[in-house]
Symmetry: C2
Subunit: 250 residues, 2 copies
């Protein structure tokens, strides 16, 4: 089967200019930083001023590592990455997968140093806004800070859901929740919610859901046997959204 990640296919890098213009940023996770109070649309002039440089990264590279100073916030233009925290003896817990269109890097503002790491899962392009630039700009345009608060608060909500999973759901419910979550995020960004390709391994999914890789594999098989999904390696098709929801939203 040819590798046809839907977000890799649908987002053509060539269609965009060299600078991160307002248009290019519309689906970008930092777009909302350009929103002024009370308005739905971002202010084009403001977006232009936020601007940002681009960065291209390959699979396996790190966007940032533990204890590094926080230098910038990012938005994903295409591609994806995982972020995770580490225990004293090196066990790791993936805290999130980040896909096209999503913002990244606001977590560690308090300390000024990264308490987590972010690693690239597939060829990925990012918008990068240096923190000092954002700092200067937000003195002048205070709404930027409000928007940052909102982004961070969304992050918190994601973490709350993950804690509920890790603390209270069984393995099958976790995988169902995971797949549904991905599905609706793809949909939000204009991709099919029922057919998509995963950029992470079974092992990564397990490390995210707090279950073993083997269990993750068995669950993919089980959900398929039960007719809820069709899955082959990285490609997933949701075949019974209702039953999957029933499982997940318990």
């Amino acid at each position: 089967m040819p590798r046809l990640l839907n977000h890799t296919v649908s987002v053509e890098p060539t269609a965009e200019a060299a600078a991160c213009t307002a248009v290019a940023c519309r689906n970008c996770g930092l777009y909302q930083l350009g929103r002024l109070p009370g308005r739905e649309e971002a202010d084009p002039t403001l977006l232009q001023r936020i601007a940002c440089s681009r960065r291209q990264l390959r699979k396996g590279e790190y966007l940032y590592r533990l204890d590094e100073p926080v230098r910038a916030v990012y938005a994903i233009r295409y591609g994806s990455l995982k972020s995770y925290v580490l225990s004293g003896d090196g066990r790791l817990q993936i805290t999130g997968f980040h896909i096209v269109g999503e913002p990244l890097g606001l977590n560690d503002l308090a300390t000024g140093r990264h308490t987590s790491e972010a690693q690239i899962l597939e060829p990925t392009s990012l918008c990068e806004v240096p923190l000092d630039h954002l700092e200067k700009l937000s003195v002048e345009v205070p709404s930027i800070r409000s928007q940052m608060l909102i982004i961070l608060s969304r992050e918190v909500q994601h973490y709350q859901e993950l804690m509920l999973m890790l603390g209270k759901k069984n393995a099958e419910e976790r995988l169902a929740t995971f797949l549904l979550g991905l599905s609706s995020r793809f949909e939000q960004h204009g991709f099919s919610p029922l057919r998509f390709n995963l950029s992470m391994s079974r092992g990564d999914i397990g490390t995210y859901l707090g279950i073993a890789e083997e269990t993750t594999c068995r669950l993919f098989s089980r959900l398929q046997e039960e007719g809820l999904i069709r899955a082959h390696r990285r490609s997933v098709e949701i075949r019974d959204l209702d039953r999957l929801r029933q499982l997940a939203l318990r």
Copy 2:
């Protein structure tokens, strides 16, 4: 044994004026909202302006409930509470215990509605700053928003640690981590880090750590047998900090 919660004993409500003055707020979780850029001490005038009303709540009462509009942010003057999220079928995951001096309520800014609930664990007094007041004030004093970002970002770090626990640590490591965390938080607020009283039940601790109440009990007994702690009901004494750390920080 008489009920001598150290934070109930040490913080005398009578010692403070009727309004939440700058002095009264020094140990208060909202104190840092009064910090101006680059300064360690909060600006007294600013603190006065943030001001806040008080609120007294009894055990079992809710500070806020699911789906309620977010009306204010809070700081705990004395007492404690738990906050938790709920699954579709009513299972609950406690996401944090909040003790004297800590801020509360910044989580749900994005949606404007609470996605979690907060319930009082013992007689508790709070500082309350209405959101619209904070909003107005922060137009004029932008540093307030920066401080809010920092508070929220700390919250995120707490969640990251909790996820690591829930996803990767065994039950004994979880309890050790929990006790050490409480210990250092008490210390931060000027109480003994080695002897303190819990305001939450074994069941609550289990619901926080993602383990059963019975397991929590057994672990208290085990840590006591092994000489790491002494515990009787709600009172806890840490007897071997090093070994407890060894367990927790793995």
